[in-house]
């Protein structure tokens, strides 16, 4: 089903269930990773991820395209996650299960690549929650600084600053490898 996200959401609001399926298909992977990399447990991530979509479903009657659908979706996710960021650490993917360096047959390089990823994962985990959130929104959802500011309720300058700090710290983790 074609159409902009906002059109699909309006169609769903008006009772077209297929429009939601199309919308869900577009955003499921990125939103899932955003949530998964923001909380400690996979089970909790799945629960929160489902909850975010349930809120979208519940809010459909009130939906009005004031901003990009992505901004609206991630603002819902932000609101749902913000308490977890305050209380808990970050759940990163299981680095051991990640596909490393295109199945390089050299065992030494594989170990090195796994260490690099682990260092990067640790750096991401060590970011302050607001910086990590800004980075994940930018990287996963492709949101601009303005959109991140809109979704999280912070000033544009603050969003820009947080994103820059996050990228700088992660860049250091990459360089250290």
């Amino acid at each position: 089903m074609d159409g902009a996200d906002e059109e699909l959401m309006l169609a769903y609001r008006d009772g077209d269930a297929r429009a939601f399926e199309a919308l869900y298909g577009r955003h499921r992977v990125r939103l899932y990773r955003f949530v998964l990399r923001s909380v400690k447990e996979r089970g909790l991530a799945e629960e929160l991820y489902q909850d975010v979509w349930m809120r979208v479903i519940e809010a459909r009657r009130r939906y009005a395209p004031k901003a990009r659908f992505t901004t609206w979706l991630y603002s819902i996710a932000h609101n749902r996650l913000v308490d977890h960021w305050r209380r808990k650490g970050l759940s990163l993917v299981d680095v051991d299960s990640a596909e490393v360096e295109g199945n390089n047959p050299d065992p030494q390089r594989q170990v090195q690549a796994r260490q690099d990823l682990q260092r990067f994962a640790s750096a991401l985990e060590a970011l302050p929650p607001a910086q990590r959130e800004a980075f994940l929104m930018h990287e996963e959802a492709g949101m601009s600084v303005e959109e991140i500011a809109g979704a999280t309720g912070m000033a544009v300058e603050a969003a820009k600053s947080r994103l820059r700090y996050a990228v700088a710290k992660l860049r250091k983790a990459v360089d250290d490898g």
Binding site: F20, Y24, Y32, I57, E58, S97, A113, F120, K160
Partner: protein, 194 residues
């Protein structure tokens, strides 16, 4: 769109993997989305369990209460037969012929007025108005009360009656109060002429 991406950071981030939500989770969310489009809008207070019987009962209670209050108000407005008789009874100090003449004049005036200005009053009110309470000199609080309780047509009848009796001071006072309450109301000559 300002892009703050660092290609090397992005590449390393992508290396963390491309996890997807479990299929069962997808199915659960999509099923919920379909159910939502099938379901009618939720009531403001959804009835559940034992509270289901509450709603018809509450609706019936509200209707009965409304009927009772309306009936009570109508009964209060209608004078009981005994007091109506008292109001119609001739005052000892007044001559019978004079009173009848006043009543006739009042009825003639009412009939002569254009209908959109003054719709005819109910028969009971028409009988009761001229002779009794209408001729009492009202205090300021009584005036306010009369204006609040009585329809404007009836108040105008009282003012006209006072004019006919030459009690212009009282008529002016009542007219002033009337104008404050009903500034848009078109006044007939019978209440203005002295």
């Amino acid at each position: 769109m300002a892009d703050e991406r660092d290609p090397q950071v992005s590449r390393r981030y992508r290396g963390l993997g491309a996890q997807e939500p479990p299929r069962a989770l997808d199915e659960a969310i999509l099923a919920a989305s379909r159910r939502a489009t099938d379901a009618p809008p939720a009531p403001l207070v959804p009835p559940a369990g034992r509270r289901r019987w509450y709603f018809p009962l509450a609706a019936a209670a509200v209707i009965m209460l409304s009927v009772a209050v309306t009936w009570h108000m109508q009964m209060e407005e209608r004078p009981d037969p005994e007091s109506a008789m008292l109001m119609r009874a001739p005052h000892p100090a007044q001559e019978l012929g004079r009173e009848e003449k006043q009543a006739d004049e009042s009825r003639r005036d009412a009939a002569a007025r254009p209908k959109r200005e003054l719709p005819p009053a109910a028969p009971a009110a028409r009988d009761a108005a001229p002779a009794g309470r209408a001729l009492e000199a009202p205090s300021a609080s009584m005036l306010a009360k009369q204006l609040a309780e009585e329809p404007p047509e009836k108040v105008l009848e009282r003012i006209a009656e006072l004019r006919r009796l030459g009690r212009h001071e009282e008529a002016d006072r009542m007219l002033e109060a009337f104008r404050m309450r009903y500034p848009e109301y078109k006044l007939p000559d019978s209440v203005l002429k002295k």
